[in-house]
Symmetry: C2
Subunit: 797 residues, 2 copies
């Protein structure tokens, strides 16, 4: 960066000094209207460097919330104090809060526990709660996040900018954001972070990366967050120069041991390793006919002397499966791969299992593998980054979705064994980025917060978690609180309603961006995310009786529930059963009509979110108000794109009309290809459901125009312009009524579109137009590079 | 700028898209809670290009305020409309608003009048007022602003960044801000703008600048603002290559004519010229023993054929006056220079007279010249930019100050001739800059607004003007309105109280920055801004009886008022009279005690402004809330610097103690030079009153420290650190209590300091410190270039 540029940015930063950008997340420590009476001293008794972090954080937090600067004292104070103590008889990382003779005691076994106690104290104060006498212990010891960051600085499935860790093949010079991130993690009790993509670059274990890993560890260590890495199983060969990576080969065993001995010399508190092998093109033990246990153990044994642990990913499946074989089922894969190996894994190996058997789809049953393994450590992998949940462009609060799995009773010993009782670890795929607000969407921060809180205590309710998060992040205004909570708590159902209800999974572009609607993308390929829709019916038969047998991977009580179309919950019906469109749900509605209704309901609900949000103007700070409004308005437009695509698709395939007559009938809509075109030419869009009328118009060069004569009633109208915003260029648009320019904009939004389809489709609304019969409405587009200023339709309301 | 830098800034700009920056000023057009019923059409009847501007502005304004996009129609609408019409029998620029059968008619003689009517309609709607049937005519035809912009892009006495017109010796490539400024001016009815410094670069009239002037004129013309320039009287010789600039020389006469013929070919609506001659080092007619009338007329005659006018500045005085001669008086100069020439100026010459006889001081009597000239056009020059009013670092609402002159009855024909009735023009020295908020201080925008409104109608009250401005700029929240109005309406008296009460004039650094306190800067030099304070008394004797005779320049009724110490208003006492410090004012208070009391009152009042402002947190948008809070807190600190300097100065000089015991007695204050110093060394500050204890400590290099043991009572304390922020470097500061870092900052504020004195003095407040007896308080400073991290004192409260 040039010097003048840095100065400019400093100036901008100074001006924005007080703006609420989301960078502070839930640690805003906003001034309290009625701060509690507190001691004036924060003292430390006991050992451990994190006590000083805790002391400073209490001072920082109370300075923000009360306007007073407490005294940091090293040991025994002469007056009442907040006292941080280690050496208590508690579980590691647990803490006790206790008020006693004017003192507030924060006791823990280790200094990390005391830091967590400090954050808990600050949270109680920020929430306006009395300070309780309480002991809180984390449910599991391993509370990790995974960051799918590539060494070049990109992030696989990251939606908030580039990596905070890596840039251009090496560690970033400035790790300020890494320290700030570690603080956010520590405030939730997360104690380790894997800093590179599970699809690992083999170089991460090479000698040149050891000091780089150590530098990141140094940045996170003051917050008690230990560093881990993901490794490539072929490293002994590709990096180590051996002629094999066979896990039973002595050279390979020695090589892994040598690598981790060196890493531990530089990073003595190194947490461990994540390993993805024999899956989605990654090499693995199958090369040498070895088992996953062999693979896991060779790495785990290199870590064991240092206390490190290995997370071995259970996400192993064949992505070249034959779609024509009705018995093939990707959902079966994890169970089939790992159950035979139960008991063969070392004690410092944890199998990392996604919540559901497929891949973070909008609705999945809990993975049967949690209940099937008995002599193997299991962890649940939850995805904080919203890969199949709208990629930070849609608001979806994931805690209720995660709790759906965590609370699901797998009936290992009859009943009473929910998933949360079976796991020894929580792993969240976080993928924060350099965006100031960490998650790309202000409201998506609730997912990072919720993951951390659940990892500490999975019994917390979805309501409690979002209540905490909203108060901490936006303050205690009752209207703000109720509006945000309503949006968040209903957002999963809303998103499911317009993207994949009844267990269809997310009907997204599975071989492309994982974002926008593309119903057949998951059929007729080897990836196994099939829903098997045809003209007669829809759904994947996974019963034991007639299907793939997947239902039989559950213990008998659960298996019976899913096996029968009568007892299978409607929400998972099409995950387990292939039924005709006329099949009646428990509600009495047919599958076809439910598909139509849920999509219309979902789209209408997002429109309502945007309207509700507008009622918070001035109640929420300017920047976040406008960012969230823009996000919700965009989401409302995309929900209509989804709605129209899915309902038209199933109406056409099934031949069953919408009982309410909505599908295919869009009042006020005029297709761009039906307008009078100058320069614009109509093209077919693939898949056909990705554009209204299955066509768009594109402009090859110059300025093109699409126009029509208004024939409606005179009055105030809103004009919707549905257009395509391609990331590879910045097209310009103008809208005229007669000769009057009424709007102009450029298509420069950050949209995860890869081609001219539903992913690029977005909406501009021009409100309050005085239209009269005979008016010419004219949309002008100017293409730029690979953005052809394409139009789908207009709608006049 | 590099491409990546530009992208970064674009990103920042996009994020800040909705922030209230002040750029919109009073034309925010915020959505109204209850918009009135209005027609859906804006039509044009009549001629003139500004009708289209007016039509577009109405559409823009009503789109903002009502959310509806009215139809622009060219002529006769088929339905009720807002109709813009020219050709009415009205004065130029006047307008009539009229509601008639559902139509709203805006009628004017010329299209500029229709534009002003459009802005008036929008103002009534924005203020929530019913739309009146009214005709409004401007009091005077010439409503100008002067911009003291140098061609290199700097601005003489500009406090809001660099020039919007010029950069690096030529017109800016991007004149967007010029057009936006013209729109602001048009909204107030200002119809011309002089675009360069009155201390003019002779090159402005050269051929190479003609197209540049034309480019600026093109940017302002859509808003009806005509361009003028300031010229250097020596141009015929320095630019024209003649051997003379004698105004009676035929070659000179022809040269001026030739120049303006060429300018008018490029800019047919060129407004005219401002000329400063024979003053403050500018050349003038005295070189050839010619008169100011000769000088004015030679230029005016070159303008006359094209309809241009010449403003000839009355600000002519000798700046090498002998201080030792008690009869010398700069206040006399304008009258002495111009009254003998009355009747000798051409009809297109206007003498441009500052409100008072000196130079925009905090309190001056109205200039007698307004009443003395009878056969010469006069205009009043008011200074919007706050040269002697805190330079946008202090909030001073100048409308009451201006009205003090405008409403002053000069009794030309007995009574009934206030200044506003005697002038044919209003000229405001505006000096806006590239700062987003135009004026450098959000609250200073009220002065630009107020000047424009007064220029249109000088009968408007100060209250009405600030009421309008606040509602338009900050909205209608009653608490915001009352707080801002209270601050603005009392701000002049407050500022006067701590900078120069009783007619002392601004006790500022007259030969330096015109900003910070320096009481003797105006004595013992040729500039004539003297107050003649000695051990016995203070004030300038300007009586006829014993003084300079200046009082006799007024008509008899006014002269008598000022001549007598009994009838002279207290506020102007020391402007007209030299009195002992024991002289009793009309209030019964002595001059000495009044000087003490007013300074303490003034400083306390600014502290109160900052507290009142804090009650508007969340009621005012984030950015403006924090900018104004920072400004008021800084001003409160500077007011204490002024208070202490002036009161200590007069206590020492007069030997009269403060009856309330405050002067020289500062509870909780510890001089830096009295602290334990490591690396820091004490130096004397000049003038002695510019630092507490007359000393500061400075750090030559490395890190220096000043520390002391706290001996007060244990409890919560605020710590003030008074330090010096030098613009020529960015020093760093840290404050520790014991080993605990409690604050750190860099000295990087934009302060108009030129040396280590009161101008650089500023304050950091650290609130809510828990201090205990025996605590070591330690200030560490790290110098940077010419900023020696200097300290004045600390105060513990």
């Amino acid at each position: 960066m040039t010097r003048s540029c840095r100065n400019l940015l400093l100036l901008v930063a100074a001006l924005a000094l007080h703006a609420e950008t989301g960078a502070e997340a839930w640690l805003r420590y906003e001034r309290l209207a009625n701060p509690p009476q507190l001691p004036a001293v924060v003292a430390i008794q006991g050992g451990g460097p994190l006590l000083r972090t805790a002391q400073q954080e209490i001072i920082r937090g109370l300075r923000g919330m009360t306007g007073r600067i407490l005294r940091a004292e090293p040991s025994t104070p002469h007056e009442p104090a907040i006292i941080l103590r280690t050496g208590a008889s508690l579980a590691p990382d647990a803490y006790t809060l206790q008020s006693e003779r004017g003192n507030i005691l924060i006791s823990a076994a280790n200094d990390r526990g005391a830091l967590y106690g400090a954050f808990a104290l600050l949270r109680h104060i920020a929430l306006g709660e009395p300070i309780p006498n309480e002991t809180q212990s984390p449910r599991v010891a391993a509370r990790w996040v995974n960051e799918w960051n590539n060494l070049d600085g990109t992030i696989e499935r990251g939606y908030a900018g580039r990596s905070i860790f890596w840039d251009n093949g090496k560690v970033r010079d400035d790790l300020t954001r890494v320290s700030e991130y570690a603080r956010l993690l520590a405030s939730l009790g997360i104690n380790a972070c894997a800093i590179n993509n599970v699809n690992a670059n083999p170089k991460i274990v090479s000698a040149e990366f050891v000091p780089q890993i150590a530098k990141i560890a140094d940045a996170m260590r003051p917050w008690g967050v230990r560093v881990a890495i993901a490794v490539d199983f072929g490293s002994p060969k590709s990096v180590g120069g051996l002629d094999t990576f066979d896990p039973l080969d002595g050279k390979v065993i020695a090589w892994w041991k040598g690598r981790f001995d060196e890493i531990y010399r530089a990073v003595p508190d190194f947490a461990g390793v994540v390993l993805k092998a024999d899956s989605e093109g990654r090499v693995g033990p199958s090369t040498y006919n070895r088992s996953h246990a062999d693979a896991a153990n060779v790495v785990a044994r290199a870590l064991a002397p240092h206390g490190g642990i290995l997370f071995y990913r259970g996400f192993v499946y064949d992505h070249h499966m034959d779609w024509n074989n009705p018995k093939n089922d990707r959902a079966r894969a994890a169970y089939d791969n790992f159950v035979p190996l139960d008991g063969k894994f070392d004690s410092n190996v944890i199998i990392q299992i996604k919540n559901g058997p497929i891949d973070f789809q909008v609705r999945e049953p809990a993975s049967p593998l949690f209940g099937a393994l008995e002599k193997t450590n299991r962890a649940i992998e939850l995805q904080i980054t919203q890969e199949y949940f709208g990629q930070a462009r849609h608001t979806v609060y994931l805690v209720p979705y995660w709790k759906d799995a965590l609370d699901f009773d797998l009936q290992v010993k009859r009943s009473g064994t929910p998933v949360k009782s079976l796991v020894a670890g929580f792993v969240g795929v976080s993928n924060v980025g350099l965006d100031e607000n960490w998650t790309g969407n202000q409201l998506s921060q609730a997912n990072l917060y919720g993951f951390g809180r659940l990892a500490w205590n999975p019994d917390l309710t979805s309501d409690r978690i979002v209540d905490e998060w909203t108060r901490l992040t936006f303050g205690a205004d009752p209207k703000v609180l109720s509006t945000i909570k309503d949006i968040q708590l209903t957002s999963w159902r809303t998103y499911e309603n317009y993207t994949g209800p009844l267990g269809l999974q997310t009907l997204t572009d599975i071989t492309g961006n994982h974002y926008s609607v593309n119903i057949e993308a998951s059929e007729r390929n080897g990836w196994g995310q099939w829903h098997r829709a045809d003209e007669h019916g829809v759904g994947m038969d996974r019963t034991v009786a007639t299907g793939t047998g997947y239902a039989g991977q559950y213990r008998p009580g659960v298996a019976r529930l899913f096996e029968s179309v009568e007892t299978c919950p409607d929400d998972l019906l099409l995950f387990f059963h292939h039924v005709p469109y006329t099949h009646k749900l428990h509600s009495g509605k047919t599958v076809a009509q439910y598909l139509y209704d849920s999509h219309y309901d979902g789209a209408a609900r997002v429109e309502q979110y945007a309207r509700e949000w507008m009622s918070l103007d001035k109640a929420v700070d300017e920047q976040r108000y406008h960012e969230i409004l823009a996000q919700l308005e965009y989401q409302a437009g995309q929900a209509i794109v989804w709605r129209d695509a899915v309902t038209r698709y199933f109406a056409k395939l099934s031949g069953i009309p919408d009982a309410q007559g909505r599908v295919g009938n869009y009042p006020g809509r005029v297709e761009a290809e039906a307008m009078q075109l100058t320069g614009y030419t109509a093209i077919d869009i693939t898949p056909w459901e990705a554009a209204s009328g299955s066509k768009a118009v594109t402009c090859p060069s110059g300025t093109c125009a699409a126009s029509l004569k208004f024939t409606g009633t005179p009055g105030w109208h809103d004009l919707w312009v549905e257009y395509f915003d391609m990331p590879a260029g910045v097209a310009g648009y103008r809208v005229l009524v007669g000769t009057q320019l009424v709007d102009q904009w450029t298509a420069a939004d950050r949209i995860p579109a890869r081609r001219l389809d539903a992913g690029a489709s977005t909406r501009r609304i021009i409100r309050g137009l005085a239209l009269r019969p005979g008016d010419e409405i004219r949309i002008e587009g100017v293409p730029d590079r690979a953005d052809p200023a394409a139009l789908d339709y207009i709608e006049i309301h």
